[in-house]
Symmetry: C2
Subunit: 211 residues, 2 copies
């Protein structure tokens, strides 16, 4: 019997998907958690039934999919993570893959594909849909020298997703308005943005800010 765990804050969905998984032959559901933190707690419980595969949502409160996947890759490399999300953003997909996810399923996949994906992840170590494969290749080919935003820049971006002017942001961050201008410029340059509107859209797409 292959053991599957589900990590998703949408209880109804994880219960329902758990039902589907139980229908597959040779599969059982050993744990359902509502976020990464809870799942890791489960794992660290003595004689907990370690799963072979985890179906992991990306956007979750407390501890998100990316963070959790990174943790699992490090401390439980035998547990395979299969991302299962509505997020189609290339950035998000790549983040999960880079964090160690063995596959990425969109929530509009069919039951049979889910079963196939689970089996392939267990037997071959990965499962990529065409879409995801395309995204991975695209991103690799473009070898876009992975944009790295600094903490202070991310903080700035969050404030920029607000009706505050840069002057007000400067006050809030206890910095001179000119320093904020500096952040603005470096962020625009790194991300290839034209204006603040673009920044807001970027921040939302990349989960830096949630409206």
């Amino acid at each position: 019997m292959y053991k599957v765990a589900l990590v998703d804050d949408h209880t109804l969905l994880s219960e329902a998907i758990g039902g589907l998984v139980r229908q597959f032959i040779n599969f059982e559901v050993v744990n359902i958690s509502v976020n990464g933190k809870e799942f890791i707690n489960y794992l660290e419980t003595a004689n907990s039934d370690k799963p072979d595969v985890v179906l992991m949502d990306v956007k979750m409160p407390v501890m998100g999919g990316v963070e959790t996947t990174k943790y699992l890759s490090k401390y439980y490399p035998d547990i395979k993570v299969l991302a299962l999300s509505v997020e189609e953003e290339e950035g998000v997909v790549m983040q999960m893959i880079r964090s160690g996810a063995k596959g990425y399923l969109l929530k509009d996949t069919r039951k049979s594909i889910l079963e196939q994906a689970l089996l392939e992840v267990i037997n071959y170590g990965f499962y990529y849909t065409n879409t995801v494969e395309r995204i991975v290749k695209q991103t690799e080919n473009l070898y876009e020298e992975e944009v790295v935003l600094k903490d202070r820049e991310i903080e700035f971006i969050k404030h920029a997703c607000t009706e505050m002017t840069y002057k007000q942001i400067a006050e809030k961050m206890f910095l001179s308005p000119k320093t904020i201008e500096g952040y603005r410029e470096s962020v625009f340059q790194k991300l290839g943005l034209k204006n603040r509107t673009g920044l807001v859209i970027y921040a939302i797409k990349n989960n830096i800010f949630t409206p």
Copy 2:
């Protein structure tokens, strides 16, 4: 037997939730559609099995939950719509309720609540969770003279969620930049916004623009 239909673009979820519903006694699933258009097509097919309740997602391609619910309230008032979504935005919830939804479930509700909600909608005509009830009351008490955005304004807002300048938006809409300024001003005034950043956030929160 109560008949249930599911309308959701996330196939995996609707299949899985369909499985849950079938477990409830006296319930059967008569149709699963991926968007409103497809569901209405189903309804209009001769001798289609008309459902008692529809579990309706809000955000869907082609024909969304709000539009579909309005249509159903008008042409199929006997079919009760129960919204089932991850959208927690007050605006979105209210839109669904105003469009005729008999209840609004978040996707993190439990299986037992789903069954209860289905039964209550069928027997009493509605099912409101505490959260939704609070939102409805809040909104009603504030009797915020329901902001009505005109088509042209909405079109403008969509363009404003872009890196285009107002001048470029004007070109795209074949209008003078000054007219665009007029839209900007009336929209800002109606929605109580300070600047374009606020507009972008509003548009995303209210499903006018999807990043």
